[in-house]
Symmetry: C2
Subunit: 492 residues, 2 copies
Amino acid sequence: MSKEITSREQDYSQWYNDLVLKGELADYSAVRGCMVIKPYGFALWENMRDQLDRMFKETGHRNAYFPLFVPKSLFEAEEKNAEGFAKECAVVTHYRLKTDPEHKGKLIVDPEARLEEELVVRPTSEAIIWNTYKGWIQSYRDLPILINQWANVVRWEMRTRLFLRTAEFLWQEGHTAHATKEEALEETRKMLEVYATFAEEYMALPVVKGVKSANERFAGAEDTYCIEALMQDGKALQAGTSHFLGQNFAKAFDVKFADKENKLEYVWATSWGVSTRLIGALVMAHSDDSGLVLPPKIAPLQVVLVPVYKGPESKVVIDERAQSIVKELKAKGISVKFDDDDSTRPGWKFAQYELQGVPVRIALGLRDIENNQAEVARRDTKEKQTVALDGLVAHAAALLEEIQEAMFNKAKAFRDDHITRVDTWAEFEQVLEEKGGFISAHWDGTPETEEEIKAKTKATIRCIPLNNEQEEGKCILTGKPSKERVLFAKAY
Amino acid sequence: MSKEITSREQDYSQWYNDLVLKGELADYSAVRGCMVIKPYGFALWENMRDQLDRMFKETGHRNAYFPLFVPKSLFEAEEKNAEGFAKECAVVTHYRLKTDPEHKGKLIVDPEARLEEELVVRPTSEAIIWNTYKGWIQSYRDLPILINQWANVVRWEMRTRLFLRTAEFLWQEGHTAHATKEEALEETRKMLEVYATFAEEYMALPVVKGVKSANERFAGAEDTYCIEALMQDGKALQAGTSHFLGQNFAKAFDVKFADKENKLEYVWATSWGVSTRLIGALVMAHSDDSGLVLPPKIAPLQVVLVPVYKGPESKVVIDERAQSIVKELKAKGISVKFDDDDSTRPGWKFAQYELQGVPVRIALGLRDIENNQAEVARRDTKEKQTVALDGLVAHAAALLEEIQEAMFNKAKAFRDDHITRVDTWAEFEQVLEEKGGFISAHWDGTPETEEEIKAKTKATIRCIPLNNEQEEGKCILTGKPSKERVLFAKAY
């Protein structure tokens, strides 16, 4: 093996870091808590972004771009939102540097260039966007506004993890404005569906759709819908959220519209987002001790073709055949790399592409060509097959689909196997400790109980699943009556 | 007309603002000098970005993402670069807000959350990227690195103009690392060609390719290559730059590589960028007093189909026919909108799409259908034609190509007509005052003369054109000997 990967059993957290760094997804940077997304990781993000962007546009949304900075007076307008994010804000206070009179070649912040009003680097854009919408909305004819933004945001974090929790991250944030509560609620749920479809069909990541408890709600939202995924270590990861914001931001920014009867009403709002955090989820849900395992539909590279040369004459024959295979694969819309770099050996390449999670690897030697065959290896199961060259391209295409499906099924089986119904506190603690995963249990519905459970076990309510079965029961902690089970888990 | 546009003659500057605002490309924001890019403007940017991105990838580049923030100590490492941007830097000094004890519901910067080291919001990313490259480059095998980044940058500007000069703007910045000077120079020139091709073929914007004089060079570059375009008011606009950075950043960040003889050498660098400023160039190069005129290849909407209803029965017939035309256009890859909104009249729609620069407008009434025809109007010349319905889609497709070409030819004729050779100072001042455009004149090659000319006339040297004819002459101002003409102009 070219690069040593810590095994999951040995140290799950180090395993994750090894994959991200050695799989060349990202790197640390000189800026505390900020990462560099490397080309391979960024290509993955581009594929995810392009699919989501298509889905947003198909549901009637258009992209726009709003300022990076939020003046403090706007930021504080919606109190709950401001309160929720105040502790994580990077703040611009000055607009100029000047030469340090005491140290040649050094710069200092120019004290004379202090801003009259500080600017917050957006941790989320509701404030700046609703302040803008105010100017765009007069009548019901201006509604709905269905806008999405792809942007960077900054939330100052004390403990950071590559992709999972970084001070700066990339995301999309949808911000919509509606004439009625019903329409805004419908939008909130529609976008949750879009996220769930994307996670399951593209990322091969099974998710539970649900609603957050009040404690876990987005600051400023009336309701937060979410998709929750399960990682291999039994911890949950919130993979996307869609917020019904009610009229909170409309009231904070005084955004009213004249309805058909010319009566002034506050506008209803939603916002929804997913971020580069999804890459962390992807890595932790599917990968193994040999490296990344990427779903074909979003893998930066779907197929790699590795020639196995024996002497210079073999190169001519192999290269010619390889080029024609590459051409055929590309014609089918499959991304493929022919790695004819002769400074590294096939075995090194095999390990490298395994580490980087390329779904299908084809190895081609002279004897293979003589026998009209090639060796095809799938990354997810590591199975190898000898395939006739005539049907190779069709085989690869079918295999990519098979891998996509198999990865989802495997993750789903794991997830389903890790939803445990428990009815006693002892059982709750035991399952959490020994098995992990989601715990389906009764809860008395109070924030106090939720907090106590969190303090005792670090488990939080991940969500109240949509279309949850109504069932009389008793709270796992307090024994008070409950009408439905909720999903608890430790979470990223 | 639905929205009044100031004419170019009346007030060129106001005309530009009207087009941007009323054409719905962008809006002012609550943040000083920052704009909101509205959906229509952003769709235009997306089309431009997608074409450029494809061209970057075809020339071997990959996208990545580097942090928004640059620690001050890294920012100041390359002295000329730091000096050039220090006066325009937004600086983050704190990472937390807290409740204002004296004003309920207000927040203040938490004085206890002062950063040990200030963070500069990137005005450009050479510093953070070269600090990262240091960790990626050991040997010649790690070279070249060919990376591009799509990002937002901030340069604090005192006088801002929508798209042309804003505190925050969107751009791409390529940053490449090479083993030899020749290779870096070749890359610099290659990307200049990419920009020129993009400007001319997609934006229909003829450009002069050239090299900047020392005064106009990018801070930290050895040489700045540029493409310069001409606006309708006779002022030039720098539309893209490609910098040969020599070993300046490698030396500032101590980035060395072991060559094939295992000798340590400093790495050679380039950087190159275009920004949302290009949208300003696009608007000013082509538009007229009725609104925007957008080149078909990047227009957010290429064709609009406006039904001309007369009574409810006509609607059924027209809508059915219109839908089949829309389907056919889409099948040809043409973006089209069927505007059947019946709250506005056709005349209002015609004016609106004219204002927004949709290249082709098709109007369809009941009598048209009876006569197997439609009215087709092209935006650039405003010519209308009656076209047989059978050949309508093929006609529209051909017309889009024709418009693209005609727009380029028109802009090129204007530009060529506005390159004036002058040999005396009197003539120089007169042409600059009365005709504008580029002035091709001899210059003695000194920064002092260039500065004096700028002080006297506001004209700067836009570039020394590539493959410039060598010709003995005398400097327009000083009379000192010169070996070639350079292009002067007033500029945005």
